[in-house]
């Protein structure tokens, strides 16, 4: 049996859950797939999941799970996994999963393979493909020892609409004993830093700049290119970390996810955290001095060369006529 761990916040299902379910169905072979959802009150989410072609939806409801904490999730899932004894536990590779899954796997002393983009072989012969070295290499890995094996599935690696739906599956209450006193983290309510002044999600064209720009003093180069293309200016994480552009212009897993008509990556190497935020763009142009940069894997058009020469040349070309 494969157990998928759904992710929800305030009764709203994270759509990465469907992608993870698609991965589970793809690797299941003859194994049934079940899904578990945790929270304070998650009946609506459970009903939504019941149509997902699963054998059973397990509902782990407890007041101690009303707010996410790694200690609460680990306690609850430990009991559920031990009782259900699945061959594999699949989770979406979200920030929440990253917070608790290593603790759960470490407590059970079972392997955890993270950020999986492809699964080959079925059932217990399965092998898992994941990026390494910032996407410069891909590795095929195999868990060691006995299961259950914990697997996190990279966002965007499987398609949510690939889930084979089915008749409404039975929804069962999972037996969860959570000791509130053993939860050491006391969370406050989530908040947004500032109302986003720029909604990059609405932009038709985006010029995004990365480490290749070298210094803040060179940003006008990218601004000119953006202006000439009628594009919004955005950036990869390191540029915003350095304070060269505000955080609200950051594309990637910690920033905004965009899918414009045109995305120009200027001096961006294409670490996976950036790619998940932009690889759905319709046309992607990559300009980078390193021909092996992972950004070229998702690019429709690529130029290997010096952005300090190429960007002004594009501006000059656009200003002709």
């Amino acid at each position: 049996m494969i157990l998928v761990v759904a992710e929800q916040r305030d009764g709203k299902l994270n759509r990465a859950t469907w992608e993870t379910l698609a991965a589970a169905q793809a690797m299941a072979g003859t194994m049934p797939v079940k899904i578990v959802v945790l929270g304070g009150s998650v009946g609506d989410v459970a009903a939504e999941l019941a149509g997902g072609g699963v054998a059973e939806v397990l509902v782990a409801e407890n007041q101690a799970l009303a707010q996410y904490t790694p200690d609460g999730w680990t306690q609850a899932l430990r009991g559920i996994v031990e009782q259900a004894s699945p061959a594999f536990v699949l989770l979406p590779h979200t920030y929440t999963t990253r917070d608790f899954a290593p603790m759960l796997a470490a407590r059970l002393r079972k392997p955890l393979i993270t950020d999986v983009v492809a699964i080959s072989g079925a059932g217990t012969d399965a092998r898992f493909t994941r990026p390494m070295f910032q996407g410069k290499l891909v590795a095929e890995v195999r868990p060691q020892g006995d299961g259950p094996f914990f697997i996190t599935v990279q966002i965007g690696a499987y398609r949510a609409d690939a889930v084979v739906k089915g008749a409404a599956a039975p929804v069962s209450k999972a037996d969860v004993a959570v000791d509130q006193g053993a939860i050491r983290q006391k969370p406050e309510a989530p908040f947004q830093e500032a109302k986003q002044a720029v909604d990059l999600g609405q932009a038709e064209r985006i010029v995004a700049v990365g480490r290749g720009i070298k210094g803040q003093e060179h940003l006008p180069l990218a601004e000119k290119l953006a202006k000439a293309m009628g594009a919004e200016l955005a950036a990869s994480r390191p540029i915003c970390d350095n304070g060269w552009l505000p955080m609200e212009r950051q594309i990637g897993s910690s920033g905004q996810t965009v899918a414009p008509k045109l995305y120009v990556a200027l001096g961006i190497s294409g670490a996976i955290q950036h790619l998940v935020g932009m690889k759905g763009s319709r046309t992607i142009v990559a300009i980078n001095k390193d021909a092996d940069a992972p950004i070229f894997e998702v690019a429709d058009y690529g130029i290997v060369g010096d952005l300090f020469e190429i960007a002004p040349a594009i501006v000059a070309e656009l200003e002709k006529i």
Binding site: P70, Y95, T96, R98, D99, F100, P102, M103, R107, P111, L112, I113, T114, D115, M132, F133, Q134, K136, L137, V138, A139, V141, R142, Q144, R184, Q185, K186, P187, E188, P190, F191, Q192, R205, G230, R237, P238, C240, D241, S254, G255, L262, S269, T283, V285, D292, E297, V298, A299, D300, Y301, G302, I303, V304, G305, I310, P312, A313, I314, A316, E317
Partner: protein
């Protein structure tokens, strides 16, 4: 405050991957190395907390002898001393193995706070810090963008990054482990004085405990295959720009 910072040595960003003959690991002899970037931010945060609250900063690293390079660098930036779990087998070790190795070396130190980067730029499991917290029996929080130590020093309040521009404050008792997000602070670099002082600082070597097991095996490494047909445009900057603009206008129709 007794603060530990876990640091990993990883290939530099400019490194071009080359594989061993059996294609299960990189040719380490060809690589150039540097401090894992998120770990550098964790170190900086530790140094700032020491400046504010007093105490000491201890660098902890598990790896082959080559990792002394980044340990020395951390000492030059201002860490007080170091623990090095040294073993040739740790070069390609997974997060569980390194977590177990570090936990064995760190348990008796009874640190008040343990900081790590949120993930490594080599294998990138994003697990080691959390596994280490579990092995040390202390609470954790991940992807941290701000750290406030309570006045009486018994708890810590941290700002955790969620996805899509959301954040959340979380309070937990000390001792605790935090994985630090890049960009939490501005990094300092080693001064000549720091480099000289580092030479006299203690690096305690610790043997790898016997009997630790790997949790996963790398069957093969390869260059990624393209998911798209990429049209590479060559020529001078002027020629390439001209062809690109033409193709974006006439072929892709996005300009």
């Amino acid at each position: 405050m007794k603060i530990a910072v876990c640091i990993k040595q990883v290939p530099t960003r400019e490194w071009q991957p080359r594989l061993t003959d059996d294609k299960t690991w990189i040719r380490e002899q060809d690589a150039s190395w540097e401090m894992n970037e998120p770990d550098a931010y964790a170190l900086e945060e530790a140094l700032r907390l020491r400046e504010k609250h007093g105490g000491e900063v201890v660098v902890c690293s598990a790896g082959p002898s080559r990792v002394q390079q980044v340990i020395r660098e951390a000492l030059a930036r201002g860490a007080d001393r170091a623990l090095h779990v040294e073993d040739h087998a740790l070069g390609a070790a997974d997060a569980f193995l390194i977590g177990d190795a570090l936990a064995a070396a760190m348990t008796d130190e009874h640190f008040d706070l343990v900081l790590t980067g949120l993930q490594s730029d080599d294998q990138g499991h994003a697990q080691m810090g959390v596994v280490l917290a579990e092995r040390l029996g202390i609470p954790h929080s991940t992807i941290i963008m701000d750290v406030e130590i309570a006045a009486e020093g018994s708890s810590v309040r941290v700002k955790r990054e969620l996805e899509g521009g959301w954040f959340q404050w979380i309070t937990m008792p000390l001792p605790a482990l935090l994985t630090i997000q890049s960009g939490i602070n501005q990094l300092r670099y080693a001064t000549l004085k720091g480099i000289m002082a580092a030479k006299k600082k203690e690096i305690k070597k610790v043997a790898l405990p016997a009997g630790l097991q790997a949790s996963q095996q790398i069957l093969s490494l390869a260059l990624p295959t393209k998911s798209k047909q990429t049209r590479m445009i060559s020529g001078s900057a002027g020629d390439a720009a001209k062809e690109l603009v033409q193709r974006l206008r006439e072929e892709a129709r996005v300009l």
